[in-house]
Symmetry: C2
Subunit: 405 residues, 2 copies
């Protein structure tokens, strides 16, 4: 019997009527003969409400208790979903992350999945039940402490569970139709991609596309789990993320981020190693490092970080700068980035040149360029980001003409 893992995010189970709609979808899939495991996030408003209460109770961050608190969220959505599924005459049971055997390391708030021992999930499936598993949460097997997985945790739970169970596919339900060649809100002619490789999706995610987080794509790639990103509003196919089956050297899409954080430390002697270590300790992911040519053995180091991590990054940078005797720390919050994604494009002669030409013709200054084998990213002013996306989409990815009958 084919086994599918479905993941529904907070918006998809945002209220009672949406929970009932998800239940109907799950039940009909089960009745059609598939085994179904459902990974569910907390209802849309719940996590915010819990965080608000914690903020009112205490000005401090209590990592262990915050995890205890937040894991109440999925408990609510998963129990309600199980009830609604059972009302369709389909047996269903909910399991917490701990009960489902999601074993993690011991870092509260951003734990990593280390292993999955899905005995109770498998037992439930063997009894013909739909098994609902709380996303975003797990347990450390040594301390028995409850952990949460941090951003993108529910997607990671879903893909890891699909890998552990040998599922045919992992379906990620969202409020968009799939992965697009560019943000349809910025480029009205953006195309929905039918298929994209794991590596391309990783670049999309790290370049600012929010539809699917990197860590779930990494799980999918490592264990060969096909991921189907699709809408929870209708039954149309979305975008398949899987191993690419053909050689391809064209731009598949354009990702962007209107706001990123640029933190510059002046006059760093001996390179940025200590700075980067301190940032890693605090969980700040540095996406790009720019260094000026050293003068008198010291250089200015600019760190590009996600906008949400700009303030933590600045605090760490100031602490380290004062310890190592570097100069002042500047923060720029008016930059964004635009990325071209596509296997082989960085090595394909002409793509980078065309990019420079197109942006120059549109009067958009480029502050820096970085690239990987399948991505070329330009830093530009925040105010230029959307225009740059449209210019590059026109240049590299003309929309398929729509012919009305």
């Amino acid at each position: 019997m084919p086994l599918v893992v479905q993941k529904y995010g907070g918006t998809s189970v945002g209220d009672v009527s949406r929970i009932r709609a998800v239940a109907e979808r799950v039940a009909s899939r089960r009745k059609a003969g598939d085994s179904v495991v459902v990974i569910v996030s907390a209802m849309g408003h719940t996590t915010d409400e819990l965080i608000r209460m914690a903020g009112e109770v205490s000005p401090h961050h209590h990592a262990r208790e915050m995890d205890m608190l937040l894991t109440a969220g999925e408990r609510i959505s998963m129990a309600l979903l199980a009830m609604a599924i059972r009302d369709h005459g389909v047996e269903a049971m909910s399991l917490t992350g701990s009960q489902a055997g999601i074993l993690t390391d011991m870092i509260h708030g951003r734990a990593r999945i280390r292993d999955i021992r899905a005995f109770r999930v498998e037992a439930g499936l063997a009894e013909g039940k739909v098994v609902i598993v709380a996303g975003f949460q797990g347990v450390n097997p040594d301390t028995k402490e409850i952990t949460t997985l941090g951003r993108g945790g529910s997607d990671a739970t879903a893909v890891a569970m699909a890998a552990a169970l040998g599922a045919e596919a992992c379906e990620i339900y969202t409020d968009v139709d799939g992965v697009f060649s560019a943000d349809p809100a910025v480029v009205p002619g953006a195309r929905k991609l039918g298929e994209i490789s794991y590596d391309e999706m990783l670049e999309f995610a790290s370049a600012g596309a929010r539809v699917l987080m990197e860590r779930s794509v990494e799980f999918g790639k490592r264990f060969g789990v096909p991921i189907h990103v699709r809408s929870s509003f209708h039954d149309s196919e979305g975008t398949w993320v899987k191993e690419s089956t053909m050689e391809q050297t064209s731009v598949v899409g354009i990702a962007h981020d209107t706001a990123i954080g640029l933190v510059t430390v002046r006059s760093v002697a001996g390179g940025p190693a200590e700075l980067l270590e301190a940032l890693a300790d605090e969980g700040v992911g540095v996406e790009l490092i720019l260094q000026t040519t050293p003068r008198d053995g010291a250089a200015d180091v600019t760190l590009v970080v996600p906008a949400a991590q700009r303030d933590p990054a600045r605090l760490v940078a100031e602490t380290v700068a004062s310890r190592i005797g570097a100069g002042p720390v500047d923060v720029d919050d008016a930059s964004g980035r635009v990325s071209l994604i596509g296997s082989g494009i960085a090595s394909q002669s002409g793509v980078t040149a065309s990019l420079f030409t197109a942006l120059a013709a549109a009067g958009i200054p480029i502050r820096a360029v970085s690239s990987s084998p399948i991505r070329i990213t330009c830093l530009v002013a925040s105010e230029d980001v959307e225009k740059a996306v449209r210019v590059l989409h026109d240049r590299f990815d003309p929309p398929a003409p729509v012919v009305e009958p």
Copy 2:
């Protein structure tokens, strides 16, 4: 180091400011040198809100998933309380019922505590931490399924935990000052009792006083745990429930219930055994059975049940009546009861007679009387209940005069 178990109900942790007030009380007790275990209920509004959502999602009762849902409630309050206590510089950690080793049978919604394996609680105490335990919830050790304890479950958790840990006392914090000689809302001159025996408290609880549930008193009695019922609003002593140290033969107080359910089955042949078995299977507690003198081998049987169980009792009675060929089932919802409580009062000559005289003089008809060694209960019309309480309080328990300085 003295160990105390404190229990705070839903009202005591009803909002953020009350959680902070509880945290302050707990922290100062810990700083004064006591080891402290805190049992906490869900925040006042949470359980109702979760039940409302479940009702909107599904018209049916899904017992397992309802337990999964409701146990989110204590998870929220206990995590918030732990944060607030830590802000006072006192180490604190929260544990779910399962983590705290509250082992129960497998009856969802009204599980019974079978054993307590409080290893993690003891480990936390040994590290000097305040340990916060979710009330109302447990786990069945065979199936690993989460259960809830039903009405009065948090009090039961507290007293059972105090017994398991060998605590000096179990403090039950409520929104009243203690156990009173009668409901102060009905009898303005009612006295707060300084001390009451387990047996008297059991009778108080079963006779309608809501301050402490029977099952927690039973635990206290069985394991000799002194229970201190007190207010969460101030530091005054409340009422101690413990083994009585002296022989006492006076009325300690008057309990009442404005509404109870009377379900009468006409023409039952061969006694009410089958009826009572069916009621027990459905979890309906019958408090009193009245039977008319049999005629042609059949008698009318009247069952006295708590008001909340009147409808379930009627359904069961109708099913059984039709099966055994008994007559129709009548329901009376205009009766209440008034109980005199006091060790030895039923055997003390004159008490029952005085009771009849006093109520008759006040023009209150008595529909039935039942008694235990330490309780005499009269069924009266609902509309007469409060008047009867005042009449009997005047007769048996004149209030101590208050002298203003």
